[in-house]
């Protein structure tokens, strides 16, 4: 397809987005039904044009159309097809177009499935979505046009950065963007409510599925990014407190707070103002993340290109949306009626505590990420805020959240019985203590934080089990009844328990890997044998191989344990010929939940090869835990209560058709 078609479609998308911003909101102000009703059609048209534009760019990549500058700079005709496609968003322009596409899809989804939203709310929501669409399509067209031509067209492209030539590029950015941009919907809902000056429990029921969906995608996106960095960079680390990672963690923390406070609002009609503020903050932090990563103020592998006009443009977008929404919030928040009082010890109280600590953690990450930038801007002094800062602050704030997690769901709404909840958690607490004791015994000496972490993780997982068991009445009623009750529990209850268990599992992986991993750095020749965490590795042979666009040196290692062979592992060093750039492809082998990880270094003067090998106990639980958390989100999303709230246009807002067993 002709790249100009893509460019033209993007221009049309901008025009449509402008209409989408103005018409429905105007309609809502003047009570003009016809104007309000054009919103959905415009949102779908916007979605169509952006999708067409994106499809054109993908086609240019697949066909290696080197008359397009973006393709020249980031592709190569010898690149495998998958990486030609994923290379579309492996660069600044393409990834911003993907951002716009995800935004357009979400807007289209609101238009399609928002049939039973009140007309004014829907018009305002689509209007706000339209304004975000204007900002990003204008940004693309004015500063980051992916369809710029080169004349004459070169015969070959510069290839994609080899670090990005990986299946991870197909998964991580789309998931992350689904999360980031998903919060644009909750943001639009919040701003729409503020424009209208009205908000009620039904609002929370519409917002919660969007928040849950965005949160689930963001959880998966962050976990995937972490695993990708872990196996691709060859250092064996899975979280570096890199500013770019922090940029994704901040909206995650705010989003986690949001999905919890939305529950309070929906059930108890309390915390309204706070929930609106969180919805605004979650997306503001997503925008901030986009700004930090895309503007080039941060230096990292994610910053594809530096161009001051882009930074200024994104900053303007940031100021407009964050400043605008917060100003609107300040002006209107007072008029939102507060309802639902509760005692400090209650489900609401527990959720408030959760929210306080999560937002405090987000603030700590915010300060640590932006302080160096601010300091350099003001004094010129260059500093780094590293892992010790984040481990201390975020760790200290997340510890109480995690400990309180099993208590929350066991407390009743309005007025809870803390002693009763503690009593029901006795067994879980005791087993947690046992786990801590076993961990302390197993490691003999060492930091006390390790057994505490292991015990806490066990307590959280068992606490989630207790929660579900208590609701089903296991032990109190006959097994058959308990099973029936278990199945009859609202999906949201299963989802919450599952997500909480996921947190515990993730924590277990983090503590075990951090405390007990072992590292061997050694210079080895073929035939050399060395120990790594209970296993023995032998460098069996080194063989050169050739891939489609690289050459590599593969080290094959035999693994043995107690003299018996248990398999082999391949690790390689690749040289990508187009850019003359080497990469390390770590060799990883999983045993149970633990992994053996080997990466190759440089050749040494004596003829050997530098080798770095790790034993990473229970490391996979980190990502499995995250996946379970996201799965909990999916379960909650499938709750009947939320489905009744959302899709069918025919049924006009059945007021809270709650399942009988609702908590």
């Amino acid at each position: 397809m002709n790249p100009e078609i893509g460019h033209y479609a993007l221009v049309l998308a901008l025009a449509v987005a402008l209409l989408q911003t103005v018409l429905p909101i105007w309609g809502a102000r003047t009570n003009d039904d016809a104007l309000m009703r054009v919103g959905p059609s415009l949102a779908l048209a916007f979605c169509g044009f952006v999708a067409l534009s994106f499809a054109v760019l993908v086609t240019a990549y697949v066909q290696s159309d080197f008359s397009v500058l973006n393709v020249v700079e980031n592709s190569h005709s010898m690149k495998p097809l998958l990486f030609k496609i994923t290379g579309t968003w492996g660069n600044h322009e393409g990834s911003m177009l993907l951002w716009a596409l995800v935004l357009a899809i979400f807007g289209g989804t609101v238009a399609l499935f928002g049939g039973n939203l009140p007309a004014r709310l829907k018009a305002n929501v689509l209007g706000v979505q339209g304004s975000i669409g204007v900002a990003f399509t204008a940004f693309l067209l004015l500063t980051s046009n992916p369809f710029t031509r080169v004349i004459p067209a070169p015969a070959e492209g510069h290839d994609l950065n080899p670090v990005l030539q990986d299946i991870g590029l197909a998964i991580h950015p789309p998931l992350l963007y689904l999360g980031y941009v998903g919060f644009s919907v909750t943001f639009s809902f919040a701003v729409a409510a503020l424009i209208d000056g009205r908000i009620d429990a039904a609002w929370a029921r519409w917002v919660r599925p969007w928040a849950l969906g965005a949160w689930g995608f963001l959880t998966l996106g962050i976990a995937m990014g972490s695993y990708w960095a872990y196996y691709e960079l060859g250092w064996g680390g899975w979280w570096f407190w890199d500013p770019v990672e922090n940029a994704s963690l901040m909206p995650w923390l705010a989003g986690t707070a949001l999905i919890h406070s939305a529950v309070v609002m929906e059930k108890r009609d309390a915390l309204k103002v706070w929930t609106v503020l969180l919805a605004v903050l979650a997306f503001s932090l997503s925008l901030l993340g986009t700004f930090l990563v895309r503007s080039g103020v941060l230096t990292s592998v994610h910053a594809f290109a530096t161009d001051p006009t882009r930074g200024v443009f994104i900053l303007a977008i940031l100021i407009f949306f964050i400043g605008g929404s917060l100003t609107l919030f300040a002006a209107r928040a007072g008029s939102l009626r507060q309802g639902g009082i509760f005692a400090p010890i209650s489900r609401e109280g527990a959720l408030v505590l959760n929210n306080l600590l999560l937002t405090a953690a987000a603030a700590a990450v915010f300060v640590g990420t932006l302080y160096p930038l601010a300091l350099e801007a003001v004094t010129g002094e260059k500093i780094t805020v590293g892992p010790p800062y984040f481990n201390l602050t975020v760790g200290a704030l997340m510890l109480p959240v995690t400990f309180a997690m099993p208590f929350g769901p066991l407390l009743a709404w309005k007025r809870g019985d803390l002693a009763g909840a503690a009593q029901r958690l006795m067994l879980a607490f005791f087993l947690g203590l046992v786990a801590a004791g076993v961990a302390a015994y197993a490691q003999g000496g060492g930091p006390a934080l390790t057994p505490i972490g292991i015990g806490l993780a066990a307590f959280v997982v068992l606490g989630a089990v207790v929660d579900v068991a208590e609701r089903a009445g296991i032990g109190r009623v006959p097994a058959a009844t308990a099973f029936a009750r278990f199945r009859g529990l609202p999906r949201a209850a299963h989802g919450a328990a599952l997500a909480h268990a996921g947190v515990g599992i993730c924590l277990l992986g983090i503590v075990a890997e951090t405390s007990w991993n072992s590292e061997t750095i050694i210079g080895a020749k073929v035939g050399d044998r060395f120990p790594v965490g209970g296993y023995e590795l032998t460098l069996a042979r080194l063989e050169p191989r050739t891939g489609p666009n690289y050459r590599e040196l593969v080290g094959v290692f035999d693994i043995s344990r107690g003299g018996a062979s248990v398999g082999s592992i391949e690790s390689s060093k690749r040289l990508f010929t187009a850019r003359n750039m080497p990469t390390t492809e770590a060799g990883i082998r999983t045993f149970g939940f633990s992994q053996l990880y080997v990466s190759l270094g440089d050749e040494l003067p004596g003829g050997g090869l530098a080798i770095r090998a790790y034993w990473k106990p229970l490391v996979t639980l980190i990502w499995i835990g995250a996946i379970i958390m996201a799965l909990g989100g999916v379960f909650s999303l499938s709750d009947r209560r939320l489905r009744v709230g959302a899709p069918k246009p025919a049924r006009k807002a059945v007021p809270a058709a709650k399942p009988v067993a609702a908590e």
Binding site: N161, F240, T299, P344, L353, A360, I383, G523, R579
Partner: protein, 159 residues
Amino acid sequence: MTRKGRRLVLISSALGVLAIAAGLVLFALNDTIVFFRSPSEIATEHTAPGTRLRIGGLVKDGSVVKSDNVHVRFAITDGGAEVEVAYVGILPDLFREGQGVIAEGRLTGPMSFAADSVLAKHDEKYMPREVVDALKKQGVWQEGANGAPVKASQGSSVQ
């Protein structure tokens, strides 16, 4: 408890959490930030040995010495002064003589440094921003010379 009393509990616990968080942040910031210095700055400022720092510049040509296991020595220069760096571990893929690098670790003497992590570029186009600034100060940097201007990235041994 009255509505007012409840609100008081809520607000005071919120302020309590905020105060704790602010205290934590200030304490941790005070304790854990690492300053960036160029070799010339180290030469003129007489920073005390043992101070945790990040230093950046170019890997001096011909200075890299690898012993037969994984002990590496090299010099970082910004044209004005140079610092001897000792490092144990595997160097990043794009660590090369004459290229930009950042080392994090402690000063062991006036102009010697023990690094526990070494960051190099991720891509041949990139150069750590701090390094570019340091080189510009020394008048060594030529726009476009080391592969187009600037932008760094890490690649390292993070332990």
